[in-house]
Amino acid sequence: MKSVQKIRQDFPMLSTHMNGHPLAYLDNGATTQKPQSVIDAITHFYRDEYATIHRGVYELSQKATQACDDVRAKTAQFIHAPSIDEIIFVRGTTEAINLVSHCLGAYVQPGQDVIITGMEHHANFVPWQMLCIRNGANFKVIPITDTGELDMDAYAKALSENTAIVAFGHISNALGTINPVQEMTMLAKKAGALVLIDGAQAIAHAPVDVQAIGCDFYAFSAHKCYGPTGIGVLWGKKTLLEAMPPYQFGGDMIESVSINKTTFAPIPAKFESGTPAIAEIIGLGAAFDYITKLGFDFIQKQEHSLLIYAQEQFEACLPCIQVIGKAKHKASLVSFIMEGVHPHDIGTILDQEGIAVRAGHHCAQPVMTRFGIPATTRASMSFYNTQEEIDRLVNALEKAYRLLG
């Protein structure tokens, strides 16, 4: 097994400095750094193989088309999708969820329920809220407990044959909670609802098997799993994708166009109008390769041990800190508030020490409201982080408390 020190060398950003200190990058929940192999894949494509896809009869274009098809197959494999046609390339999680909530518009009837949880990112909250407003459906938000877990009783009770759609995050970006997605899906499917899972925070940290989960849609962003910006994936069940109307109209999603009538191409093309993010698709393929080579066994072990270490150190050294989100099953992130010190001030002080964390509502205002706080500071770890970086975080937090607490 590669050592973490060796792995860090795969990521050029991890050797940079911030404010005179070696960068301690603990904002992986926002976005992850890129291994050189991903950067190289993009560079190589632009330098040596660049062409558009689908449309060219020449070799370059065919090769680019093939390369994108290969990534589609790789993506299907990565999340255990049964068919490569079910992989739709989108800009990111946000677009994926918007696509589904838009294209399922006609499916949701006035008076039906759309159910989400109280720990959703705005991207999995607002599109459903707006859908409900448009369609006269009921927007139901299942409460979360004091530890930041879903109130499963409330969830089970809320489900009924009146439930049209259930949407929830696989892992909460604000709390770290790993949801029991399989059980939640099973209950929702029993009620006859469609299930969308926001996998933005899960895709880099846990193996995903959409068939084992049993959901209908799964969405994630490449930039959160070591891939490029500008690209993400919507997976959806074939029958549903085929039944849904197209999202955007334009080139490549068309079968034939005339003034009187336009017919659309089959999936996945139907949902991918216009020139796609070609270089980004290729970069995503390299990201999957990187993760696969490392393996989720290693990734999960490493990240879990960082979580345990951080929690121990926080407990031991930082009585001024209250951790928000103490789910039993938790991803490698610590969201917290410090007595009398605003997260924004903490962020600034950590920044001066070269430590990148996030301070704010994490695009999850309803979670902040639930805990009666305006914001938290969040340190989110990846397999490439170290105990030493956690130590630096703890020291800097002590300093912040001495100064402002």
Binding site: H342, P343, T348, Q352, G360, M368, P374, L403
Partner: protein, 150 residues
């Protein structure tokens, strides 16, 4: 002094811990709401103006040390001033914080100079200016929410 210490000077830490005029007036003549959606700073400014003079002023809400100390300093400084003087001071402060200001401006800013360290933290500038924007809104009778993103 390193950048952090320049930002969090003693005076600021004191105003943060013990903000002056941290209250809501019972029946203000002017009122405005200031929010910074990015970091969640959220304050109400309430003002009692009589004969064009700020008789009393309070600010209430929650936010970071910079926004809170800025509110504390602001309310302390403009109480008793004419509304015109208050708005002038606001302009001076914005110039101090947001531009390569002149020595003359720095002079006029007086005690507000302790906040000048914010300049080195561009993302915190909005924290320092939030309450002043709300003051401006309140005095111009725009009784609406002021967002730093607007």
């Amino acid at each position: 002094m390193n950048k952090t210490d320049q930002l969090y000077q003693e005076v600021i830490l004191d105003h943060n811990k013990n903000p002056r005029n941290f209250k809501e007036l019972a029946s203000p003549t002017h009122k405005a709401h200031g929010i910074n959606p990015l970091c969640g700073d959220d304050y109400w400014i309430s003002i009692q103006v009589e004969n064009n003079t700020v008789q009393d002023i309070g600010f209430m809400g929650s936010g970071c040390a910079i926004s809170k100390s800025s509110g504390s300093l602001m309310t302390s400084l403009i109480k008793g001033k004419s509304t015109q003087e208050a708005l002038d001071l606001k302009n001076t402060f914005l110039e101090l914080i947001m531009t390569d200001c002149t020595d003359e401006c720095r002079e006029k800013a007086g005690r507000l100079k302790v906040l000048e360290g914010v300049k080195q933290f561009p993302i915190r500038v909005k924290c320092a200016t939030l309450v002043w924007r709300a003051l401006e809104a309140a005095l111009s009778q725009k009784d609406q929410a002021i967002s730093t993103e607007n």
